[in-house]
């Protein structure tokens, strides 16, 4: 499989998953604020973005398996950078919350932190490797 085919297949999963994630998140927030839903219904609604997240990561896993070995090293490094960023922010902020009464950081933000740091690392590493 060529890189172009793998990339196309990746975006075919990633874009609908991201749309599902955002729509599911916004719908859950709206329902929690405006509707008097029982807790199990809210849990059910919150399952939509969770499912979308799983699809996103499954698509990424497949993408990493389908691209060639050099591009795979770039992706793995970028994912590691994303995970490290999440761990540093979560543990660092958690320490501040525990020891210094810092305001609470919702763990909801860990996924956006992951995608932002992963994307930045993937962009820099790909550019260094000779562009897209």
């Amino acid at each position: 499989m060529t890189t172009e085919q793998a990339t196309r297949r990746y975006f075919q999963i990633f874009i609908p998953s991201m749309v599902g994630y955002l729509a599911g998140t916004l719908a859950t927030i709206w329902a929690a604020d405006h509707m008097d839903l029982p807790p199990f219904a809210l849990y059910g609604l919150a399952g939509v973005p969770i499912f979308a997240m799983l699809c996103m990561f499954w698509g990424h896993w497949r993408f990493i398996n389908e691209i060639d070995e050099f591009l795979r090293t770039i992706q793995i490094k970028a994912v590691l950078f994303g995970i490290a960023s999440v761990l540093v922010v979560a543990t660092g902020w958690g320490t501040l919350e525990m020891l210094a009464d810092a305001p609470k950081l919702q763990v909801f933000w860990l996924l956006p932190i992951f995608w932002t740091s992963y994307s930045a690392a993937a962009g820099v590493l790909t550019k260094r490797a000779g562009g897209f």
């Binding site: 060529t2 890189t3 060639d68 070995e69 050099f70 591009l71 490797a129 000779g130 562009g131």
Partner: protein, 74 residues
């Protein structure tokens, strides 16, 4: 790892994209191997050697072999 990939490719007038297509890898991968920023896996090295009809060690040269050659010349 030093290699002769760029020279071999130039002899055949192939672009990095063309060589990448023949080896089923991306242009970036060819670029990284030629620049010595990435050492290919053994299966890819074999594929490259087969494509150019040469032995792996005639295309790729590790530092140890370079040093050995220099010592022999001394």
């Amino acid at each position: 790892m030093k290699n002769r990939l760029k020279a071999l490719r130039a002899e055949r007038n192939w672009s990095q994209a063309v060589l990448g297509a023949k080896l089923d890898v991306s242009r970036q991968t060819i670029n990284a191997i030629e620049a010595g920023r990435y050492d290919p896996s053994l299966p890819l090295a074999f594929k490259i050697a087969r494509l150019f009809g040469q032995a792996i060690e005639d295309i790729f040269d590790d530092e140890a072999r370079v040093m050995q050659g220099a010592r022999r010349r001394e």
